[in-house]
Amino acid sequence: MNSPILRMMTRIILPLLLMFSIIVLLRGHNEPGGGFIGGLIAAAGLALHAMAFGPSETRRIIRVELLLLLAFGLLCAMLSGFIAFAHGEPFLQAHWYELNLTLLGPVKVGTVLLFDVGVYLVVISITMIMILTMAEA
């Protein structure tokens, strides 16, 4: 769509939406949010970009091949389950680690975060695969 207003707005909104999606992903465990919602928000932003600039441009800024991103997301989710094996526990048993980050102090990081990141990547890639393929067809 050849609309300069849409393009200008998208240039501002897209980075905000992407950052917001990551915030939603990270806050999901204690407040409303999570991998699914974060992924959908990011996808909505990218869909807006595709409408403003065209699908090929959107593929260019995503940079990685979408199918690869999909596979990587599934891999993250699977791997998060395998970590439990190192502790002799069944598949997908959650584990939490205390990390001491200099700026933020003690932070609890768990395998569920890796799982949620996997879900996030999968949701983004499948939505964008569907939207971009249909837009290009």
Partner: protein, 773 residues
Amino acid sequence: MLLASVILIFAAALAAPGLTRLVGGRLASMVLALAPLAVFLGLLAQVGAVDQPWLTNAYPWAEAIGARLDFMLDGLAGVMALLISGIGVLILLFAGAYLGHQPRAGRFFMFLMLFMGAMLGIVLADNLILLFVFWELTSVTSFLLIGYDHERTSARRAATQALVVTGLGGLGLLGAAILLHAATGTWRISEIIAQGDLIIDSGLGAPIAILIFLAAFTKSAQVPFHFWLPNAMEAPTPVSAYLHSSTMVKAGVYLLARLHPALRDVELWAPVLTIVGAVTMVLTILLAMRERYLKRLLAYSTASALGVLVFLIGLGTELALMAMMAFLITHALYKGALFLVAGSIDHATGEKDITKLGGLHASMRTTFGASILAAASMAGIPLLFGFVGKELVMDAAWHAPMWRTALVASAVAMAGLTVSVALLVGVRPFVGARVDTPTEPNEVPWTMFIGPSVLALLSLVAGIIPDQVFGHLVRGGAWSMAQAPQELKLKIWHGFNPALYMSAGAIAIGIVLYLVAPALRNLGAALRPLDRLGPQSAYERSLALLDGVSRLSTSFFQSGYLRFYVILVLFTVLGITGTLLMGEARLPDITAGFDELRVIELLLLGLTIAGAIVAVRAKSRLGAVAALGVVGYAITLLYVLFGAPDLALTQFSIETLMVVLLVLVLYRLPRFAVYTNLTSRLRDMVIALAFGAMMTLLVLETPTPEGMTPVSDLHGAMAYTEGKGRNVVNVILVDFRALDTLGEITVLGIAAMGVFTMLRLRLRPRQLQETGA
């Protein structure tokens, strides 16, 4: 050591293709033959006392489900294993010369050795499930080997036929295994055979017997499942000599022998085995007289010999069981030899038709010698082991506990016809005047005549001193079946008894039949139309029926119309859930809580309903999409109102993206037009209303199930303590129910790939014309 033997063969199988690529077929076959040779020698070292198992190896594997790797070597297993490994060596050498030069020889050797390992597994296994796995593996490798020359339609059809028939038997074996476990509580064969009375008491004796019959009769080509064996002769000769005469087809007989101690008291056991065995042994060798091709003659006579073995197990007397073991060994020796001779003749002359062969004794001396000895053993001529075996069979028939006259007559008939076939196959091609053949015959290489020569010489030596050579093994095998001491010795002369007269009579009949063989062949050809009533045509007609039914059902269910698929799915869900709900549901009191309704809830409700109505009655696609969007956002607001923020966020985002997707799709469709008539729209309305009503009932029913505590309480309590998160919904999604979520995202991924491939695969107009669309 037993597991190691099987693994050694499998390892050799995997090494075969690479080895063949490296040193060529002939040399590779000689190297590969070292594996079964090692197993053979190892087994010989393990031969123990007659009346007990020689070696037991047990390895726990998955104890919780009772899956163990149990192996046992006793008399019966020992005889079979020695035959498998010993003859295997000779077959590999033969195959190296016969087809070693072919480009795919490496794969052939691999399949052959995989088969060898599986067959060894069958006879050494002490666990029913292990036995079943190896059993099916032999069926599969047999399929691969019969269809080795896969460019020929006849080979493919024969391979499929063998697989389907023996596969059916495999199912029978599995069923029998499960029932045996149910009756005795164990999967171990050595324990099961000691518990025959438990099996009878459980009342499962007859079903188990029937299923075992199914497995054994299909594998060992008993009537009416005999038809796959002659067709399996499409395989290369080494395969026919190994699988379809010496080893694989004996697996069914082995199964019957192995389980005989457990099942012999089942009422069906002895009669069925005796009758089926006797019918098979006469009928198949009679059918052989129709044939002109060497290998088909041998195939039918193999089926007949298997019938003899089954018949002897059915008789079950001490004499019969000894006879069965002796006959098992002698048949493997002479049949293996004769098949290899047939292969050598084919290799040397290019001719397989006995009516077109003759006078080869001059050009193929060693093969001729081996062939004469093997044929004599098959005919039951004295001083050969075949005579010892045949005598025992005749004697067992003479002393049969029931139906004596019929059985004696059948035995003599079978023996007579066998003599005639022996002469036709082993003697005819070599004697008489030289007949011109496609290739000028020369003696075959040593790797090809060593097989028949060794087997024939063994028949000769064992024919002169039978008890010293095979006595111990035969008694050991008979013990495994009878679980009782064995005293009979193998003798070459039993005196002038009825059995001797029967044999003499059979030889006389056989010679006469041989002389009139051409007339019999013509008679057989004239009777061919009767084949339409036979089991082979029944098999083909059932397959055609299956094909027709599949075609009909596919064309009904896969109509190509999306609306049909949707209606089908809705209908099925409606039917199943609906019937269940009808039985259980009480109509809930929907007026409860009416007084607590807030204005905003009523407004949202009104908005949703209005949106739905507009969507249905819209006059443009965009209008319909927009109205659906309104419905979605209204539901989002309802979620917000009732305190489900995650749901609301998800619904909101999906709704937005859905609008985007729908616009992209609808953009490409032609102008809005009315495609359906009133009746289909009414039908759609009825189905939609019914489905909606069912979902409503379902939702109203689920919060109040009787006698169950909601799991959400548990999740709510555990969310912070175990899940370390305050957002219960998210904790459930990624922690408590992570496996479900993993499945869901995988499905999403597959759906996306489906969209991707279907949209990228755009047929060009010319392709559309070609598919007739």
